[in-house]
């Protein structure tokens, strides 16, 4: 049995934050879950996928976040308890349904888990999605530790059903990826079927209906506000004259700072766990009892600005500060030392931080950027496309492992803003310049948001080459399936959707299917695609080697080695391919046989044919 299914109220487990959210959902009787994976949210649906195999929980990896939100909305409107999870930029994709689903509301509890990524550990921006609660009018909960991640999730379902609107749980990377103690509660039964009762004047958002629904949303907001003012997730502790207001992971840093500085008697803390609607009455009570306020919140000064507005409303002129105090910035995540410094500075306490060791005499260290794996087919495709397109072509790229093609020696990533932007931006680049354009997109990203761009390119007669890097999985986020995967090989139900057939059906005339480990043929195809007067698509098909190994599909190949009697040290292998299985031993290139998977790409490009399979 999956550990999150244990019917063991009161038992304690060490859970990943994301596992705690999944457990909370199960305790609340979750019946239906959807997602598009995205770090740092991906481990939540991973639990649901496994659990759906042994229970009647319905789970799907949807094609993208908008679809995931809409699938979940349908199920929640029918009456099921539903969860949809995504990373912060995923909510941009799902923003369209979000903004009107808030009007329509739900019948079964619906919880949207949104994972922000301050410091951009694995994202293209660090937007603060607390704004989405304000934009949509939906309540937002912000847990601070693993226990709360579970407990807040249970509460979020109840709150959602009570108010008949979705509730957003907002996490940050640090919260998603902590492990801590969680005391389990009781599991509530799942309701996996209901009956949809028609009500077009609630569910069909023509203007006349939505005018009324907007009014209803504002009424729900007032109810949510009253609940927020009373919520145990919002609390005032301490009775000192110095106020600190905080949320999310920062709450931990504040607690530690107060303890470390021994100022328990000097401060009062307002912690916002049910952070939207902002508990205005509680904020007023708090601000009336303190002399000044420090706001400790990562990213945007949202609470800071709201507090200033609330203070104005009740005629308070106390000083409210946040951003700009001793290193508290709108950039990146906070850390305990930073918050301790800020609290000390704000209270005027003489505090000396621990001194990091002096590294001024340390030798320069070589960088260790993440790299495409040994035998990664993306590397092979990049090599061949570069042979055909040269160095001056423009390469819009997309989001996935292959974004690492940014790094030398591949250096074939020129533009990236979001999922799917490779295809559509290539339309713009190819019209606005006379340069050749070869855009790259992965298979999962193609399904996520590449297809509409491709149809646009066909319809508007754009001329460029799109390279679809089909490695059979969603590799970057941990090998989740997508519509193009061989579901059977993964032991899943699901109908495989052919990328080739889609590309053809979109109206693309020049299509090349290549196996990237066949270098000469791939270069030939890339040259033909380059020379085609129109839109051409190369579909490069080869399993991600990590995924192939995981599903038992990796073919046994002998590793390769350098024959030093033949090698003349051109180093094309190491300089052009840069496979991490290669290294320099003195002046000679060697291949680490434990890392080499025998893809043979280096052997095919060696001008002396000096790279050969290792003899058994």
């Amino acid at each position: 049995m999956h550990k999150l299914l244990k019917d063991a109220p009161g038992s304690h487990f060490l859970l990943l934050g994301n596992e705690a959210i999944a457990r909370g959902a199960l305790e609340a009787g979750l019946a239906f879950a959807t997602c598009y994976p995205g770090t740092p949210s991906s481990e939540i649906p991973e639990q649901f996928q496994n659990i759906s195999r042994e229970t009647d929980l319905y789970f799907e990896y949807s094609v993208n976040e908008k679809v995931a939100m809409e699938v979940a909305a349908g199920a929640a409107t029918a009456g099921l308890r539903t969860m949809v999870t995504m990373k912060h930029v995923g909510l941009n994709v799902a923003a369209d349904p979000l903004m009107t689903l808030s009007y329509v509301g739900v019948k079964g509890g619906m919880v949207i888990v949104n994972a922000d990524d301050p410091s951009l550990f694995s994202s293209q921006n660090e937007q603060d999605n607390r704004y989405y609660a304000r934009l949509s009018g939906l309540p937002m909960l912000e847990p601070s530790n693993t226990q709360e991640m579970k407990d807040f999730t249970v509460a979020a379902f109840d709150l959602s059903e009570k108010l008949e609107i979705p509730v957003i749980i907002r996490t940050t990377t640090r919260i998603n990826h902590i492990r801590g103690d969680v005391a389990f509660g009781a599991l509530r039964p799942r309701k996996t079927k209901d009956v949809f009762k028609k009500n077009p004047f609630r569910y069909v958002t023509v203007p006349a209906v939505s005018r009324n629904l907007h009014k209803i949303l504002l009424e729900k907001f007032d109810k949510a506000l009253a609940l927020s003012n009373e919520s145990p997730f919002n609390s005032i502790t301490g009775s000192g004259k110095f106020g600190i207001v905080t949320n999310g992971v920062s709450y931990n840093y504040v607690l530690d700072a107060v303890k470390d500085l021994h100022i328990e008697d000097k401060v009062s803390i307002l912690r916002l766990g049910f952070s939207w609607p902002m508990p205005r009455e509680l904020c007023k009570t708090f601000m009336k009892k303190v002399e000044k306020v420090l706001v400790v919140e990562e990213l945007e000064p949202i609470v800071e600005n709201d507090l200033k507005a609330i203070a104005q409303e009740v005629g308070l002129s106390l000083k409210i500060q946040g951003k700009g105090v001793a290193g508290l910035s709108r950039l990146f995540e906070y850390d305990p030392g930073m918050v301790r410094q800020a609290v000390a500075a704000y209270l005027g306490i003489d505090y000396k931080a621990p001194v990091p060791v002096d590294l001024s005499a340390a030798p320069q260290l070589p960088g260790r950027p993440p790299n495409l794996c040994a035998g990664c087919p993306h590397r092979a495709t990049y090599y061949s496309v570069k042979q055909a397109f040269g160095k001056d072509a423009i390469h819009p790229t997309d989001i996935g492992c292959y974004t690492l093609g940014l790094l030398p020696p591949i250096s074939m990533a020129d533009f990236l803003i979001c999922m799917g932007s490779s295809v559509s931006s290539a339309c713009g680049f190819s019209r606005a310049t006379d340069q050749k354009v070869a855009a790259f997109i992965g298979d999962s990203t193609f399904f996520h948001s590449g297809i509409t761009g491709l149809i646009n390119a066909v319809h508007n007669n754009h001329k460029f080459t799109l390279v679809i890097l089909d490695n059979g999985t969603t590799a970057m986020t941990g090998h989740q399936p997508h519509p193009g995967v061989d579901a059977k090989a993964m032991g899943l139900d699901g109908t495989r959707v052919s990328i080739e057939e889609i590309v053809r059906a979109c109206g693309v005339k020049d299509i090349h299917l290549v196996k990237p480990f066949k270098v000469a043929k791939t270069i030939e195809a890339a040259k033909a695609a380059r020379d085609y007067d129109g839109l051409s698509v190369i579909i490069s098909q080869e399993y991600c080697p990590l995924f192939a190994k995981a599903i038992g599909e990796r073919k046994k190949s002998r590793p390769f080695q350098v024959n030093h009697s033949k090698c003349k040290n051109h180093r094309d292998c190491i300089n052009l391919i840069a496979c991490p299985a290669m290294y320099l031993d003195g002046e000679q290139v060697e291949i680490n046989k434990d890392l080499c998977i025998g893809c043979s790409v280096c052997a095919q490009i060696c001008p002396e044919n000096a790279i050969l399979p290792l003899k058994e």
């Binding site: 060490l14 694995s122 530790n145 902590i178 492990r179 709450y251 260790r368 950027p369 290294y583 320099l584």
Partner: protein, 195 residues
Amino acid sequence: METKRIVFVGVGGQGNLLTSRLLGEALLSAGVPAVVSEIHGMAQRGGIVESAVLLGDVSSPIVSNGEADVLVGFEPAETLRTLARCNEGSVVIANTRPLPPFTVSIGQGKYPPVDEILDLIRKRVKKLISFDGNALAEEVGNPLSLNMVMLGALIGSATIPVSAEQMKAVISSSTKKAFLDSNIKAFDLGMKKAL
């Protein structure tokens, strides 16, 4: 209870996240409040992997610069790169076997001599415990057991309130049978290095 802040650093594939998770499990079973933090995402792609375990009366899940009580480094260059987490009172447990990054192979940087790295660390912190952890893992016939060697050394250093027995119980319950024997042997060898 005294607060302890332990940082683990290594390279993708060295098993450092498993180490911090097992330590977290052992602390929980010993009744010691603890929080573990990890950075996921790039671990399988040769990047730097860092995790932390904070125990005792502490809420924060991460360790600021200058605040680590113990740094467990699975790879010498990464240990040095992370040394700013330490102060002059810190204990450093370091594997001495280098795993040069790919940038070195393509001429974008030099890997400094390991002795130079270790000498510098030794001068800057209270105590350095260093050994060739990969050699010990190879000695027990399981090259992947480097993480157990490092965990053994951490327990052997007596810097945290977990006994060898408590730790081994957790290792036993979370290891596949085929690797259990070698993992425990690796743990013991690591522990001896730190005693």
